[in-house]
Amino acid sequence: MKSMTKHPKWMNRRAFLKAGGLALVTLGTGPAFLQRAARAAQEPTALGRRKVLVTIFQRGAMDGLAAVAPVGAEEQLAKLRPRLGMSAAQGAGDEALIDLGVGFGLHPALAPLVPLWKAGQLGIVHAVGSPDPTRSHFDAQDFMETGTPGRKGTPDGWLNRVAGKLGHDATPFRAMALTPTLPRSLYGPEPAMAVADLREFHVQSPAMGAVDAGRGFEALYAEASANLLRDTARETFEATRTLEQLDVSKYRAAPEARYPSGPLARSLRQIAFLIKSNIGLEVAFAESGGWDTHVLQGSANGSFARRAADLSSAIAAFWTDLGTHRDDVVVLTMTEFGRTAFENGSGGTDHGHGSCLFVLGRDVLGGKVHGEFPGLARDALFEGRDLAITTDFRSVFAEVASRHLGVADDATLFPGWEGNRLPLWRPA
């Protein structure tokens, strides 16, 4: 636990010296934290460029069977879901799944992910989820974000624990959620910041002009008698100036990157900006809503298809936008549970159990559906109604944390878990 007088930690990053992308920092100018970092990076012990984990939480529980459907089980699916099922057969027209050639078909609205799949960078884990049987969104999200299924009292989030284990100092931009409020995943003792819009990350004063207000606050906080307030304020003003210099409002994504409109794309676009700016982002969080498709879920069109198109085009645009920074980034999607194998009376699906997730990265063992698919036969379904779970989500999260970020401390990240990591990385 930190005390009032403890000074925030700072970072050392060779990345600043590289001054690539948008970084405007040179030795002798710029904010103190970047100078410190630049100095520190000259020390022989400093590590190379840091890795970034970008997580996307699909709130509401994505129907994993609609996203990635088993091919060859169409008859079964058609029986379970007469209004939702699709076929991978040729000539199925608009309703056709995209055959991935490995026994699964991708929802047509996820087409923007196909090039990443073909490049061998996108892996899918199917029948994944939490061993806890709850069908409450709140509880299941809580369990997934704390990394402790079934246990409600866990105070911090798994990504906060990841940040705590990175083993080097941080900038204020190390752990960030591009969301209006801090997600449970980032709760905890490590500094983490939620900012919905980086353009708003400065003193804004509708009544008096931001310049006067900013100047006033800097003067006030420079003299604050409480260390915590004084030091945090100094960092805050430095951080706002850094962003001001980088000027997020002038940020132009790579021309080939076609971000859709919508909150997820806005978040990912800002994450791309932060990554390219080299200001110390290591753990990023974004979210995508609207997956709770109880009503009128649709098949090739409908509410699921719209969410899927938004998700896939946002991820594809982000990946394009990153350019060479792709080498440092892994994208991990997650959702609290899956949905019923059969459709309900309102043309939708209800809360279920297993779902699927995507892992995207240069070294990810892509082009493969990982995990064991238990099938849709009645006795294979969980409680006779939902896709069963064969992979604990922690097996995936732990693998990503260890292989991508070098945080291999499963016992800290997932207290009480004794399972094994699911191998998802290409052998070196």
Binding site: D139, E223, L229, V295
Partner: protein, 690 residues
Amino acid sequence: MIKHQRQPKPAVAQRRPVRVRGGLPRAARFSACRPCFVPAKQLVRCLALFLVLGPWLSPGLGSSFAATVTDAADPLPWAAAGLDAEAAAAHLLDRFAFGPRPGDVEAVVALGHEAWLDQQLRGIDDPVLDARLAKLPSVDMPLPRMISRYPADAVVRRMMERDGVALPSVDDPGMTAVKAEQALRQAIRAYARERRLRPISQLVGELYTQKLARAVMAENQLREVLVDFWFNHFNVSVRDTEVRPYVVSYERDAIRPHVLGHFRDLLEATARHPAMLFYLDNAQSGAEPGMPRSFDLDAYRWRLQRRRIVRQQGTSEAIYDADATWAARPKEDRRPRGLNENYARELLELHTLGVEGGYSEDDVIEVARAFTGWSVVPPAGAYGEPFGKALDRLLSLPGSQFVRDGLFLFRADLHDSGEKSVLGQLIPEGGGIEDGEAVIDLLVQHPSTARHIARKLAIRFVQDEPPEALVAALAQAYLENDGSLSAMMRTLARSPHFWADSARRRKIKSPFELAASALRGIRAEVGFAMPLMRRLARLGQDVYAYPAPSGFPDRADAWVSSGALLGRMNLGLDLVAGHVPGIQIDLGALDDGPEPESILAALDRYARVLLPGRDIASTVESLRPLATDPAVVARVAQEAAALQDLAERTLDTHDFEVSTRADGSRPAPPSPVITRVVGLILGSPEFQRR
């Protein structure tokens, strides 16, 4: 103001712990409900009687400890800490209230610090607040009506399906998916309107508005501060859709009545409330398969069925067949439920003993077993409703052990009636609801509970790292006064640690405290709170929505981060600019002095108004360069002239940005000097602290 008259306490009502069964100490009011096999109805009546008499049976607020803990007339020890009367009043208002309104410090000094505290502990009438709250229908709506009046959209949709209402579908001619969804939403709204139902979002909106309005307006400030504290201690989350409909009642019925009463009542009220029962899953917790249960629902149903067979057929053969079927029934539970430990764990770790409180994993399981069956009355006609119409019959069935209290239902059919051992105390087999009661008794009398609560109160009211002596004194006050929470508050105020230099201005306000104190400081009025509360969520405090049962951490470093600090500065600036919807301000009416002559003069004056009893020299000094910068002065003059011009031109047009005073007159637009100065003070480091 008229003070509430305290009812005289009947002499027989001493809550002396008595020992019954297995050496468990037990409050006398529960022993009155014994012996063991009291018919359920009588037990319910018994409980109801105690609910009514509770306030008189408990030692009255203040009366029993006034003699032992302190004499109310004793001066609070602020002078010994080197404070003057104003600074002491300001400190009291910073800690026992959501900060001072202009003039409050002078009022406390005039009344006397001790008398003010006394008034806060006893409670005073507050007709102004009552009138404001009367505009919020849910504030005094009974819980069952609230549940049916504010259904979630999904509930309305199920009602429509049940009524056979045709729902819009994409398959309808000319429908696209988007249109179908819109049509569905409209259909739900229309259906709800016809039945005079309101969306649950409105209930949540009222929940937020009443909280903010109370914090800003209430005369009984200490009560509001404590409601905030104890809600957080017994946290539930409005994000949990199962819990959401119950949160208004949870705060109102389980927390609010007890914050200056006895900890036992508070704990029991939370333990029985649907919000807590759903939030920590106890409503779903039942005996593990194979364990004995207080009531065998299947056997009971079978007896009824057998009686029907006898009546209708009467042949020995039919009865024989039926009995054979019963004997051959599958033995495993038809409704596998099993034990859920979540409530038991948090009850021990967070609500009572504390994580270092000296309990084991086995204790968690045993406590969970003791609370099996503490559940919620299922809504009529609910899916999976286990009793049909039989619940009333079960409640009156002699020996069934079912208990109903409002929406709380003790389900004997889920209760594990085996023997339990909790913290070394034996709870004998055969118990029903009294098993959980025995655990509550055990926990409230435990020294670890006294210390845990003492420490949390000391952190909230004194400092983040409270001195050990203070924690010990508070724990002692708890143990010596039967868990009286007002005794603890009085002990706090009388402690030299409370007044010490090391404590004053050392707490960083939570975002909610910051907002409430700012609104009080500038005499703002609360129309509706949601937009402001959303801002607070971005500052790190999503009020009523902390996801974990621990509640928000009460530490400076939990609130002060780069993003949050910036948001705090911007909040004050937006408030003075009138840019927070739902909040009405009238800065021109803050004081009736003449327009300040300079920025510096304004700074001095408003720092005194907003930071009374504090040393404002450094705040004023650090802003001197800005305030005297000729460029700034010129800009301010220019803005003032423009504003004057605008005011003259728009005198008769309606401008929604400008709020209206209660008497219908429109406030003059605040001068640019005042908005600047007040905006900076609200965002200043001094104002972030209390």
